[in-house]
């Protein structure tokens, strides 16, 4: 048996037969649109504690990163947009409002989506594999990706979503609560809280206070982000988070300007900061046909990651499907993903993955292999994992250390 230290019991004891059965069950649930445990869904008060209210906004504490300007204006310094906001107006994110010269967050304690997901769904493949992440989001985002998969909550304001009244302490208590699940024999317990689905930077204060309260209760926190944040707030966040996933949406400013309404350089700066702070992080690159699938650009990006961040940073290539304002493109062909996967491995990255390919039985690029002896260490099919064959964070075949957080709290092994 593998020696992973902190998996969920049901996952740890997964036999091949059970693994296949659960994959099939997961596929059925996805196809039927049933409310399976890991399907993202808006916050619902029907089977979970806490009532939802359309447009519910209960707490509006003062924001922590802004400057006061003359005549009641403010400049938000949380993200690189640096919005200058007049009285009664909101920043680009739509969830921060100037009220008489004081800048307030409107999403503190008001999540609009809550779910328990496999940590692999984030995706974080080298962080406590096989565990569950209590995942939340509030309305709003500080960019507008034309291909946003969660645009119905990220591109609206908190008045337009059904929100829970869930301040940090209540959220942590809810996260710690055991749950029923289709996928585990016993009750499901979340090991981490994931700030995800929309852009956690826009609910920074809520995320920060929740992560701090969660750590005191033995629950880790992870941020699933676009990395569009300024240096000071990100540095502070590193004190309370255990892992970060960054969506690197492309490796050109042109793409960021045209399809994201943001800038690339601040994201690269965030990645360098995370590496400097020794925060565990993984990168996802959504491959959009004709927009960011040029092998030359991808090779340059892989070189940059290898050189600036190190070869141990996991890089996930994910397939695009048409949505939101980018509906006139086809899905990303699997061959494109596989080509970029190969290019990145050749450039020296040790852990490169593929995602969203929907290949029956899984794709070899979904599993973790030893970069030295190529032995399979963690087999995956979409969000399900099989055996975790690591021994004290090392390959049992050749004793090569495998970068990641396999037990305990943050810090590269």
């Amino acid at each position: 048996m593998p020696t992973i230290r902190n998996p969920q019991p049901a996952v740890r004891n997964l036999t091949r037969r059970r693994f296949v059965r659960q994959c099939a069950l997961g596929g059925c649930a996805l196809a039927a649109g049933a409310g399976a445990a890991w399907l993202p869904r808006p916050a619902s008060g029907q089977d979970e504690p806490g009532l939802t209210t359309l447009g519910g906004i209960w707490l509006t504490p003062e924001a922590r990163f802004y400057e006061k300007l003359p005549e009641g204006r403010v400049r938000c310094t949380l993200c690189p947009n640096l919005c200058e906001v007049g009285d009664q107006e909101r920043g680009y994110c739509g969830v921060r409002e100037n009220r008489g010269g004081l800048y307030h967050t409107l999403v503190y304690g008001n999540p609009c989506a809550r779910n328990v997901d496999p940590i692999e769904k984030k995706p974080l493949f080298h962080f406590l594999p096989g565990t569950w992440a209590y995942s939340i989001a509030t309305a709003g985002c500080n960019v507008e990706c034309l291909f946003c998969q969660n645009w119905e909550i990220s591109q609206v304001r908190p008045e337009q979503t059904r929100n829970l009244n869930l301040p940090p302490d209540a959220l942590v208590a809810d996260a710690a609560r055991p749950r029923r699940s289709y996928f585990t024999d016993g009750p499901l317990r979340a090991r981490t809280i994931a700030f995800t689905y929309t852009e956690p930077v826009v609910y920074y204060e809520y995320m920060f206070d929740t992560a701090r309260a969660a750590r005191a209760k033995g629950i880790e926190s992870v941020m699933i982000s676009n990395g569009y944040i300024t240096r000071e707030p990100m540095e502070k966040l590193c004190d309370v988070l255990s892992a970060v996933k960054i969506d690197l949406k492309a490796y050109t400013e042109r793409f960021y300007k045209k399809l994201v309404h943001g800038k690339l350089q601040p994201v690269l700066d965030t990645l360098k900061l995370l590496a400097k702070k020794k925060m565990w992080f993984e990168i996802v690159y959504l491959v959009i046909p004709t927009h960011n699938d040029d092998p030359k650009e991808v090779r340059e990006m892989a070189k940059w990651i290898c050189g600036e961040l190190g070869p141990d940073v996991p890089l996930h290539y994910s397939a695009f499907f048409p949505t939101y304002k980018l509906r006139d493109l086809e899905r990303t062909p699997p061959e494109t993903i596989e080509r970029l996967w190969e290019i990145s491995r050749k450039e020296g990255l040790r852990y490169v993955y593929v995602g969203n390919l929907s290949r029956p039985g899984g794709h070899p690029g979904e599993s973790t292999r030893c970069p030295k002896c190529d032995r399979y260490l963690i087999r995956r099919v979409r969000y399900s994992i099989g055996a975790v064959e690591l021994k004290d964070g090392k390959c049992p075949g050749c004793d090569t250390p495998i970068a990641g957080v396999w037990a305990g709290v943050a810090g590269r092994s």
Binding site: P42, G72, E84, E89, G91, Y92, Q160, K325
Partner: protein, 334 residues
Amino acid sequence: MSELRIPHSPLRTLGRRAFLQAGFAAGAARPALGLAADEKSRVVAATSSRVFGEGNALKQDAAQDLVDAAVCALTGEQSAAAAWRHFVKPNDTVGIKASCLAGERLSTRIEVVRAIARGLQAAEVRPQRILVWDRKLSDLTRAGYPTEGCDDFRVVGNDDRVLGFHPPLVEIGEIGSFFSRLVTDTCSVIINVPVLKDHDLAGISVCLKSFFGAIHNPNKYHFASLHQAIADVNRQDDIRRKTVLHLCDATFACCHGGPTPPPKWIERLGTVYASRDPVALDQVAWQKIEELRKAKGLDPLLGSKREPKHIALAAEARLGTNDPNRIRLVRAAV
């Protein structure tokens, strides 16, 4: 998140019959503004110094005179009732779009809105079919509009729990937005009643900018492509077809520090502008703001970063004319 839907809840107190009638009335096409080559857009300015009451209040009778004079001059009618019949039918559900972001300091005055509502009633529109709306109910209440107990109209916000926004996403040029159900469903006629004011990003915020209050995500367009987005919002079919009159409340105005200016920038003009052409009215409003800025020694908006380019873009989109030679400014006798 495919299971998430922007909630659908038609106005709570509107009966099924009234709701359907409103929908049919809305469906009846009204001609979009389009000027023949030799035609001019008429903008009426009615001014009275008698309109000011105590503090920020207006005298209701004088406000009524101003509004009546403006619509009569615009339509060429002798009576307000006859003038209003040019714009509405008795079975219309009329949405009066107010601009109340700045609260009591500089919002569409309730006295002006009441005068409009009484004019509509003179044209046989029932008070319960007159809805005063803006992006948020709280904006309206901060500006002094009562949520209950008003005999002349009802007050609703399009960003509150009652109405919401209409899926699907409408994509026009720069924008991709849900539009308020008040615009798409509930109202068959819209009367736009903005304030004459400076805007820190758009240059001015008058008729065209006012309809940012009709979309669910104005925050996404305030920083990039703002001017094009303003023009594009006004290209939306319901806004074009249903907005029959733009009546700018310039009793109080600001030429700097907007859209929520400190008191020192607010001044009393005692004017109401009226036009069917939002572009022409914005062009006139811009010139007025430049005039006020010059008098205060402020730099002109023209040629600055804040030049209100959305006016020209709206003209390019054939929403009206910004050509001074094709705008006839008429001073109405009050």
